[in-house]
Structure formats: structure tokens, C-alpha cells
Subunit: 286 residues, 2 copies
């Protein structure tokens, strides 16, 4: 984040900073997501972020207001992103000396009108343990991703929703874990090694699972950088080796009709979303 | 989600369903988070959820509108949660036959006024690869969590931000991974086994790291259920064994002043948020 310098009232140079509070009666993760998505739209401010989770009674709400007001007293009005479900607690927070932006106040009335019913105003409904089956599906998916990471086990591929394949360090592991954690999807991943590539075709045991394969590729120069950090000046990290592996793997994907994606400039979130979009795979936890 | 049954116009029983679209010019993850947090406040509706990510040009926006309108033509107005940053694309979406709730329209004008500057309306600012250092810190934290999962390696504990300890199946692994994925925190985890517990004290190599330890406990009955699913009718899964381990570990936490949390009724998100709150650990990626 770049920092905008401005002359303050005394004529000296001061940093343009803004304190931001994320306040919730649950984890605060929704408030952080909402707030960070909005703040990412402003380049010229240096945000100091504080999360106050589990603000679930009057005493805690009043303590939060004291923290906000103490910051406001320093001169610049803080910004509060709130996901407080309890209306009485929200009323306390809304009276603080801040710009208070609340998810529920902004949108619930229109949804209540649309659905012709009141909302529950219940706490922890989204990131809490409300639906245990759904939650346990996610935990099992994480177990699955770890057990089937990096080709560690290939015995249960018939239970995989998807099997990510590609050269070493193309982004398979974090993507598998993200698919499990965020969407409850059982993702295995298998690294295509020099041995596999020398044969010029997929390992035999992968053949029955071709419809579940999804390939990740990467620019050879970028792959070289990543590998160089791991094993400096190794053959593994050489540009020649990276180029060879990437081109052989891409040829194999095309040959076997495996869909694939270039991960060079993509975050884990972007890769995971593209994978779901390309495969039409349904989120199990949502 | 419970399903409300209602008589439709023809007098037969129909499910009260509502189609929901999450639309974004980036991953759609923020739109899903925002929308799901709101929808979780309504018990009486069965939501059919569809995500349309990467809606980044006019053609894709018009295709999204056709999908929405086709659904609207079936009789019940769909709900759209949008995080479209581009104003022209949002204008197209906003004219669909749906209740359209947009994050940016709702909050950006007030933030622009507050910060006295326009927002960038740039796509993919939050879940994209905008800040590579920050992003790579998260990927390294995931690597760290995997390398240091379940006591697999204990050599780099001096690089850990936190070391989760507790009996087997108390929630350490998914919490470590969540802390890494969501917050960029380097979390190791070490299972306290019967061997460790028989000695009645922490393993020697953990002693220098006591200030970084955080304990996870669990109700013995719940632990028994979880272990029973893994290794049915084993000594490991017996209630006697679960009770013994849980009580010995809790005594050790108290003895060595290790803060700890009961995970029995907590989700990974709740555990991770509590851990951050209790330890004051700063998010590295935020």
C-alpha cells in the first residue's frame, strides 16, 4: 500500500493514516473480507487494521467503543466495518465516533422484504458450527487433500472430486488445500516428474481418472525463480529443465484432453475459482 | 437449511426456493462471503446458489443477465450478490430482473467521501495477485504448516509464529492450515501422545518454545466419536483413553501456563480467531 504524505495543520509532513476496525459478535472474518475488499479500492491511504471479534455482550461492545473513540481522539476519524447481528449491540457500536459501515444494516431490510420474513439476528450462523454435516465434510476434505498431497497416496483417487496434475511447484498443493477448506471439495494432487515425462505419457494408474484430471502450468522463467529459492543452482531449478518439463507436460495435457490453466499470475483464490468454473464442479460446502 | 413448504397457485405443495447468484469480475469469493453471511440469517428459504465469477466484459455481463432473467421467468425473483468493480458492467447487471445487492454501490460512495478521494474501480484487487510479497508469505506459511504438521518436523520451531499442541484429533491440523491460508501465520502443530503424557511433562525440545505454545482441548466424549470413525473399537478410540489423555494434557497446560481452548463446539474459523485474539498474534496477510 503506498502512503500519501500530507502537510498537517502545523505545516510538517505527516503520514496519511487511517485506523480501521473490523467488529463482529462472531469471528470477524466476514467483516474483514467485506472491509478489505472495499479498502483495496483505495491506493492513497495507509490502513492500520484491528479486528475485534466475539463482541457478544454489552460490556464488550462498550469496550470496543472506548477503543474506537480513543483512536478518534487522536484526530482522524476511524472506519468501522461491522457484522454485529444483535441489534442492541449494533446500536452501541453505531454511536461511536467513527464512520460505521454495517453489513446487516445495509442489506438485511431489503432481504427481509424480499423473502417476506424477519431474519433471525442469530450470531455465528455463517462461520460457526451450525451445520455439522457440512462442516465435517470440509474437515474430511482437508484430511483428503493432505493424505493425497504431492502423490503421497494414490489409492483413493476414486474418491477424489478432482486431481490436480502438473510439474513440481506449479501451485498444486495450496490450490488443493484451498478447494478443500473453502469449498469442501476433495482434491488430490500428483506431480508429474521427469520419470513420468520421459515416458511421454501419463502414468498408467492415472489413465482411469483422466476425466477428473486438471492441469496447472506455469511460465518456465517463473518456475525457475520458485525452484531456485528451494534448491539453488540445482538441475531441478535450471531454466533448461523448467522449459523442458513445462513443454512436455503441456503436450501431454493437449494429447489427453486434460483441461489446464496457466498459474503464473494467478492467486490460489483465482486458480481455485477458475478450476471450479472450467470443470463445473459443485461446491460441497457453500 | 430447512425447507418451507407452501401451497402454490394451483393448490399443490411446492418447495419455497430461491435462486441466488454471486457475480463478480474477479473470483466471486467476496460476493459469496457477503451473500452467505446474509442468507444464513434466513431459516425458512431453500437457496439454490450459483456463482458467476470473472464476469469481466460486456458479453459476459449480458450472458449473466440472460441466465438471471431465465430464472426470473420461472416465477420467483432471483437474488444477486454482486462485487463488480467496473461501473459499466455493474450497470448491465443492475438492470436484470432480480433483487441486486452490490457491495461497492452500497459502501464505496461513503468511503470516497470519507477519504476525500475516488476509488480505483480496479478488478481483482483483493483476491488477486496485487501484493506479491504478501501473497508469497501466505504460500510460505502453507508450506510451513504442511512441513510442520503433526510433529512431522520440529527443527524449525524457532521460525514458527505459534505451535498448536494437544491430543490427537483435537483440531490442530485444520487450524494450522487455516491460520496460514487466511492470515499468513506460520503455525506448526505437535500431537501430545501417550508417551509424552506418561512422562507427565512436556517433551524437552518443546521447553524453549513454551511462549509460542497454544493448547487445543476437546470433550472426551466428542473425541471418542471422532477417533471411533478413524480406528473403530481401538484402545485409541476408547472413552477411558480419551478421558485420560484429555485430562493429562489439560493438567500439563495449566502446569506450564500454556493458554488453551476447548474446540468441541468450535469451527476452524472460530478456533483460529480465538487463537489470534488470545495470543495477540498479528496477521501477516490481511
Amino acid at each position: 500500500m503506498t502512503i500519501r504524505k500530507e502537510e498537517d495543520a502545523r505545516g510538517s509532513i505527516a503520514l496519511m493514516q487511517r485506523r480501521v476496525f473490523f467488529i463482529s459478535d462472531s469471528t470477524g472474518i466476514t467483516a474483514e473480507t467485506l472491509g478489505n475488499a472495499l479498502l483495496a479500492q483505495f491506493d492513497g491511504v495507509d490502513f492500520e487494521k484491528v479486528t475485534l471479534p466475539f463482541v457478544s455482550d454489552q460490556g464488550l461492545a462498550e469496550a470496543a467503543v472506548r477503543a474506537i473513540n480513543a483512536d478518534a481522539a487522536n484526530g482522524v476519524r476511524p472506519v468501522v466495518f461491522s457484522t454485529i447481528t444483535n441489534v442492541d449491540l449494533y446500536a452501541i457500536i453505531s454511536r461511536s465516533d467513527a464512520l460505521v459501515l454495517d453489513l446487516f444494516t445495509a442489506f438485511l431490510p431489503r432481504l427481509e422484504e424480499e423473502f417476506q420474513q424477519g431474519s433471525t439476528h442469530a450470531t455465528g450462523r455463517y462461520h460457526g458450527l451450525v451445520n455439522r454435516d457440512n462442516y465435517e465434510g470440509r474437515i474430511e476434505a482437508i484430511d483428503f487433500a493432505l493424505t493425497h498431497d504431492d502423490g503421497a497416496s494414490v489409492k483413493q483417487y476414486h474418491l477424489a472430486d478432482i486431481i490436480l496434475v502438473g510439474v513440481s511447484r506449479a501451485g498444486k498443493t495450496p490450490t488443493s488445500i484451498y478447494l478443500a477448506m473453502q469449498f469442501g471439495i476433495r482434491a488430490a494432487n500428483y506431480p508429474l516428474t521427469s520419470d513420468d515425462l520421459d515416458h511421454g505419457r501419463l502414468p498408467d494408474f492415472l489413465e482411469p481418472f483422466v476425466p477428473r484430471l486438471y492441469g496447472l502450468t506455469i511460465d518456465p522463467q517463473r518456475l525457475r525463480q520458485i525452484r531456485q529459492n528451494r534448491r539453488p543452482d540445482s538441475r531441478y531449478a535450471s531454466l533448461t529443465q523448467c522449459r523442458k518439463e513445462v513443454s512436455e507436460v503441456a503436450a501431454m495435457f493437449r494429447d489427453r484432453g486434460v483441461p489446464y490453466l496457466d498459474t503464473t499470475n494467478a492467486s490460489v483464490e483465482e486458480i481455485a475459482s477458475r478450476v471450479l468454473q472450467d470443470t463445473g464442479l459443485r461446491r460441497r460446502s457453500f
